[in-house]
């Protein structure tokens, strides 16, 4: 199996912003909840039962063809910062990272598949693809799931489907989610109707990332809430259809910004570039919001030589655990703000700012 440093060293393909509709859709993720018969769920089991299950199941997962050369770690042997790095990469859930004895995660070489053992369910299988590609993400976990099914006695009920610790996951046990970057809709103040419309169809929308109190970085996650009564392909098709609608709204908003609000847009992008390029102290919140504007500027060609993958990687690198991993020690929040500014300045060094724009009609 591979070492942690080797796993982390190379960015995964999905971190580089190059998938269908990557200018708006960051990632597509699908996770499946699975459990074994005859074992209490992790939340209600004794420690020795969790360890017993882990001992029996972990080798099975490690031996899957897709996982064979991957990374596998028992949580008792994983430092807090390393765990947090995996959380920031979406390879393990926050909830799982908070646990220790009897828990492990197995991650494939490409950081596209992860299998959490003894999460809320015995297994949480997750696949990630860049851009809008839930189908691709589902194919990843579907394959692993079928292989695990051949070796392990899954808990399944003819009527209720895959049995899960929480009834909200019954049936397919599948949660499909898409991370969207929607700065256009936010700038035009059109985000709320979109959120409402999506919610009406029974999907959950949340603004997220980071620790702040608002939709940081204009990032939103949309996922299904129902898992029972619909087959996996139906659920995925429905979400993709909704997402395509949201993409169109965001595209329209961006076109409108270019057309009707060029000055405001250029101002936002220009300020974002200037601060990110020259600041020496950057809070998480400020950095995320400014990087969002810079990404928008890059996507709209207001900044011409800036690669989206550089920004998407930076988005990961500036998160607390990644900063501390780089520094090889714990950093206080103030130290992190300095380290964040430093890495941001260095990454943006080769990027030219937005060109001086011709004087806009509104000034004349």
């Amino acid at each position: 199996m591979m070492r942690f440093s080797t796993l982390i060293k190379n960015p995964a393909d999905w971190m580089k912003g190059s998938g269908p509709h990557s200018e708006i859709v960051m990632t597509s993720r699908v996770r499946l909840a699975r459990n074994l018969r005859g074992f209490p769920f992790p939340g209600f089991s004794q420690e020795h039962q969790r360890i017993e299950l882990l001992k029996a199941a972990r080798p099975v997962v490690e031996e899957l063809p897709e996982m064979r050369d991957g990374y596998s770690v028992d949580y008792t042997e994983l430092s807090k910062i390393r765990k947090q790095v995996l959380v920031e990469r979406h390879l393990v859930s926050r909830e799982h990272a908070a646990r220790t004895t009897g828990c492990a995660v197995v991650i494939d070489r490409r950081q596209s598949i992860s299998v959490m053992i003894n999460e809320e369910d015995h297994f949480r299988l997750q696949g990630i693809r860049p851009g809008l590609n839930l189908r691709g993400a589902y194919e990843l976990v579907d394959r692993i799931d079928t292989e695990m099914d051949a070796a392990l006695p899954y808990a399944f009920d003819g009527k209720l489907g895959y049995l899960t610790a929480c009834p909200t996951n019954l049936g397919t046990g599948m949660r499909a989610s898409v991370m969207l970057h929607l700065p256009g809709l936010v700038l035009l103040d059109q985000i709320n109707p979109v959120i409402k419309a999506v919610g009406k169809i029974g999907l959950a929308v949340r603004g997220l990332y980071g620790e702040g109190t608002e939709a940081l970085g204009n990032l939103f996650q949309i996922s299904n809430q129902h898992t029972l009564g619909e087959a996996e392909p139906e659920i995925i098709t429905q979400i993709e259809k909704v997402i395509e609608g949201v993409i169109r709204s965001e595209q329209t908003a961006r076109a409108k910004l270019l057309e009707d609000h060029h000055t405001m847009l250029s101002d936002q992008v220009g300020r974002a570039y200037a601060i990110l390029r020259y600041a020496h102290v950057l809070t998480s919140k400020e950095a995320l919001n400014l990087l969002s504007m810079l990404r928008l500027g890059a996507d709209l060609d207001l900044i011409t030589n800036c690669d989206r993958s550089l920004l998407d990687l930076l988005l990961l690198e500036i998160q607390p655990a990644h900063l501390q991993l780089g520094a090889e020690r714990e950093l206080s929040p103030e130290e992190r703000d300095v380290a964040r500014a430093e890495i941001t300045r260095s990454r943006l060094q080769g990027i030219q700012g937005p060109p001086d724009l011709p004087v806009s009609p509104s000034v004349n």
Binding site: G38, P153, L160, P167, N192, V205, T213, E214, H226
Partner: protein, 197 residues
């Protein structure tokens, strides 16, 4: 959009269809964390149980899963099951709940390979399905369902809007989001009615 709990800017928007009505609960990041609304579990959660099933559970809080000993009282408290076999014990008690939570109450979609090959019985029971050879150290338990949980019936909503608002506050404070959503839907409906008049 403001957080329904603390008035800060909301960043977690949870939407559910309850009794055919769309309701949204908006929470700020801080409140969503402190209320245990996680990225994974979304809205259904423990609170759904606390809010929707107390009457059903109260009928026999001592009802326990023969396989793991998990009781109806615990189910009410944590909103999750103790083991897969618990679903046999508490099956009927949660059916009404599942209707509000999901698109249907019958699974469609992928099935384990051992189940695809088995002839489906008209009313399938998990325990009637032949088990694949258990992995080392694993036991599979056959249980007979012992169900007495009552189907829940929707409680009539009190008409007074101020009372509803107070109830909403309380529900959110006590983290009963399912309740909160139901109450909010009623308030929205009444407000709309009033506006229409």
């Amino acid at each position: 959009m403001k957080c329904d709990v603390c008035e800060a800017e909301a960043s977690v928007f949870l939407t559910q269809i309850i009794n055919g009505q769309m309701t949204t609960v908006n929470l700020c990041e801080g409140c969503s964390k402190s209320k245990g609304v996680t990225e994974e579990t979304g809205f259904g959660l423990a609170e759904a149980f606390v809010g929707a099933a107390p009457r059903a559970v109260e009928t026999s809080p001592d009802l326990a899963c023969p396989s793991c000993g998990f009781t109806a009282a615990q189910l009410k408290k944590i909103g999750r099951m103790g083991c897969p076999e618990c679903y046999d014990t508490f099956r009927e008690g949660i059916e009404g709940l599942l209707r509000g939570m999901h698109k249907g109450t019958r699974h469609v979609g992928k099935r384990p390979s051992a189940i695809i090959t088995a002839a489906p019985s008209p009313k399938p029971r998990r325990s009637s399905v032949p088990a694949p050879a258990p992995a080392p150290g694993m036991t599979s338990t056959i249980t007979t369902p012992a169900i007495t949980l009552k189907e829940e019936t929707p409680a009539p909503m009190p008409p007074d809007i101020n009372k509803l608002r107070a109830e909403l506050d309380l529900a959110v404070k006590e983290e009963r989001y399912e309740d909160a959503a139901t109450i909010k839907a009623e308030i929205d409906r009444q407000t709309k009615d009033t506006a229409a008049k």
